[in-house]
Symmetry: C2
Subunit: 296 residues, 2 copies
């Protein structure tokens, strides 16, 4: 039986999530939940509602809202006994979110997969595998160059910002520059905007460079990437060298990872999980023994 999946929110990730659900042989799109019920053309044959309860039976909901409203939405959906998958991206707070949703999920007999994007998400899985292979050593995660959706959303939320784009540039050894392009509202106070950006927790630890532009739309490219490097020790043997690199469409990868987590969620016991806490094979479509013959 197909896994009936709802997409909550129809922004950057939500659009790709709809595509990824439709491309998955074992998932069925129950519909899209968004405040604005008027449909863009591509949702023509898809049910769009304002409340998930209007979609009938739903097994899993992909929470594609801005990250800051994920905790509230996830809690509400779990309380309906529906599994949730989110891509909550605040690294410092996700263990707390996991704990909070674990309590709710257990109570309502549902499963929450927390922070199921690519970082946190699949990058976290790669980092953990590098650690199991070489327990001592240092891992560097170098993002970009590419547009950070999370950082761009934070800037767009500032008063006086009409549109914005934050590009992450890797400087090596896990150090980054954030290059922010801001299109202000007419008459907006640009210095105030700059201060707000620099003081935001998303930016406060990085080198930040801010540019005022006339049209952010001209700069948009959803491509992103990462290089994860580790030099470490296996047993007593040093100089074990590892490198993982990807160049990807950012929202497409986030959405696909969430869809793979939706599939995994229906195989777990009630509770909340990060991607590190689920056996890898559960994310994949197909007969487990056939998968073992193909992948292992």
């Amino acid at each position: 039986m197909a896994i009936r999946t709802a997409v909550i929110g129809y922004g950057n990730i939500g659009k790709y999530a709809v595509e990824a659900v439709l491309a998955s042989p074992d998932l069925e799109l129950a519909g899209v939940v968004r405040r604005q019920v008027e449909k863009p053309a591509e949702l023509d044959r898809i049910l769009v509602v304002a409340d998930i309860r209007e979609l009938g039976d739903v097994d899993v909901a992909l929470i594609c809202t801005p990250t800051r409203s994920v905790p509230e939405y996830a809690a509400r959906v779990l309380a309906l006994g529906i599994n949730t998958v989110d891509s909550y991206d605040v690294h410092g707070k996700l263990a707390d979110l996991r704990r909070e949703l674990d309590r709710i999920a257990q109570r309502y007999n549902a499963v929450a997969v927390v922070s199921a994007g690519w970082d946190p998400g699949t990058d976290s899985m790669i980092r953990a595998i590098l650690s199991l292979m070489a327990p001592k050593g240092v891992t560097y995660t170098n993002f970009g160059p590419g547009m950070s959706m999370g950082h761009s959303v934070v800037v767009k939320a500032i008063n006086g910002v009409k549109d914005a784009l934050s590009i992450t540039v890797p400087l090596g050894s896990g150090i980054h520059r954030r290059v922010v392009y801001v299109q202000p509202d007419p008459g907006a106070d640009f210095e105030y905007i700059e201060q707000q950006i620099k003081n935001d927790p998303y930016f406060v630890n990085d080198q930040v460079e801010i540019h005022q532009v006339d049209d952010v739309g001209q700069l948009m490219d959803a491509g992103h990437g990462v290089v994860i490097e580790r030099k470490g020790v296996s047993g007593k043997t040093a100089n074990q060298l590892f490198k993982f690199e990807m160049r990807i469409n950012n929202p497409a990868l986030t959405a696909q990872n969430m869809v793979s987590c939706a599939r995994a969620s229906v195989k777990q016991k009630p509770g909340a999980y990060t991607m590190l806490e689920i056996p890898i094979i559960d994310y994949l479509y197909g007969d487990p023994e056939t998968l073992l013959r193909q992948l292992v």
Copy 2:
């Protein structure tokens, strides 16, 4: 309480396995099991026995025998109620071994981790993660250049071979050349040896080049590597590009992976598992919530 771990076999991997157990804060070396009980100097303070039952309580045994005798040793140890970890490397047969050991492990209330090296093993985990990120597409695994222990052991077992070394050279797109250096016994029939190599299942699918040499010892280097590449589709978005590369000491990595699996084994329910079937976090030392804060 420390996980009491035995190392069965003291060849190439067994030596590094002893080091990796000693380097793990949560593991305790119960001893080494080998036919020849005389000790080399580095085992001076370590219990060496001919039968694992002489080691008292043992939680996990690392089966470091040649791959072809793994099924027999694993079955025998599991029947004592002791968990096993092996690095069985015959890709085409490991799903069958898993099934066979699953039956025995369940019966004796133990856990078997099957094919827990790097390929099969951690490379399989990487390939599976690439598949969950981009379900459609092709993955190429390019080994080397480096010495293949499995292939070298096969050649050494041929009649008339005094010593041998098989080097794997990547030709791209997952195609490999096997370059085999053979030091024959005096008066051995080299053509017979060549035929035996070319007809062995380990070599039959690859391009093979065989050289006769006077001293294989001069060519030995335990370094190895792999490049795993995938170009695939996330949802409906093509050109998602992934690459994993490592340059490592081969037996040291195999041994460390087996040790990380020993740790994971004590957290699983009775049965047999490949590395794809265990949550990644279980392989790591430390408090799970602290690990989530560090890695995710």
